[in-house]
């Protein structure tokens, strides 16, 4: 590892530490729900950006869901950690790993991170298919000791 890489990692560790401590303080003072609201909104904003980035690259819900995996999820989780299934008007996205858990966050106590992912999927689908009614249900969550995170997106 070069000196620059080592310096960069230390900078990132410092930022991650400040971020984690900030979350702790927000949770203690303003409460869990405030964090779920913030992360939901950040996820929605990220979802809107994804729609702009993928504009013109898909023709169907299935195409879009696959693009979400390849362009958004896999760069974070790595290849082969997520699947997408389409059955009729229902898209099921399964995530086999949690980036927050992998980064060392105690995800069971910080499940507001899940709101980010749900908000991202939900707003991305709504933005990509503005004429359709989208309903997002997140059932299994790794933060609740499930093996995977499961998101069912119904598009009618």
């Amino acid at each position: 590892m070069s000196l620059n890489e080592s310096k960069r990692i230390n900078q990132l560790k410092f930022i991650a530490s400040i971020f984690s401590m900030s979350l702790h303080e927000i949770n203690e003072i303003m409460g869990f729900e405030t964090l779920t609201m913030i992360f939901r909104r950040v996820g929605e904003a990220a979802g809107n950006n994804v729609v702009k980035r993928l504009k013109g690259k898909y023709n169907s819900v299935e195409d879009f869901a696959k693009l979400l995996i390849s362009h958004v999820i896999e760069p974070v989780l790595g290849g082969g950690k997520s699947t997408v299934q389409v059955e009729g008007n229902k898209v099921t996205i399964n995530l086999g790993a949690c980036p927050y858990k992998n980064a060392g966050f105690p995800i069971k106590n910080m499940s507001w991170f899940c709101e980010y992912t749900e908000g991202l999927f939900d707003s991305a689908m709504r933005g990509a298919f503005p004429d359709k009614k989208i309903e997002t249900i997140s059932g299994d969550r790794i933060s609740q000791n499930c093996a995977t995170c499961k998101f069912d997106l119904t598009c009618t």
Binding site: E25, E28, I29, M30
Partner: protein
């Protein structure tokens, strides 16, 4: 007399006049507690919590006043089954009052507004 002494006397007099008040504190908008009568905030941790919560409540209320009514925040009244939390922004600091259940709201708001005005002259 120092500013803290003036504020302390003001809070003690206020509590003496309004028996419904169980605790009083003054905090800066960034959550730093300037002075408290030290009942709820009896140690450093709970004082930090009181200041933090006052700052958060003030900040959200101020944003709501501006965003929803295009107005300026004056005070916040949170009714709880075990009492009431009053927050008054003096223009410089936040006056926080905790009360016993079912306080005399008329007397309380009058006295708190008066105290807030006096605090404004102390913390210029």
């Amino acid at each position: 007399m120092s500013k803290i002494d003036e504020a302390k006397k003001l809070l003690e007099d206020l509590q003496g006049r309004v028996p419904d008040i169980s605790d009083l504190a003054i905090a800066r908008t960034n959550g730093l507690v300037i002075y408290t009568l030290q009942k709820v905030a009896s140690d450093a941790k709970s004082e930090r919590m009181l200041g933090g919560m006052a700052s958060a409540l003030f900040s959200i209320s101020k944003r709501a006043a501006d965003e929803l009514l295009k107005g300026n925040f004056k005070n916040l009244n949170v009714e709880i089954d075990k009492g009431t939390i009053f927050l008054i922004f003096t223009g410089k600091v936040i006056l926080i009052a905790l009360t016993r259940p079912e306080p005399n709201l008329g007397l309380l708001s009058l006295e708190l507004e008066d105290a807030a005005g006096k605090l404004n002259t102390i913390f210029v």
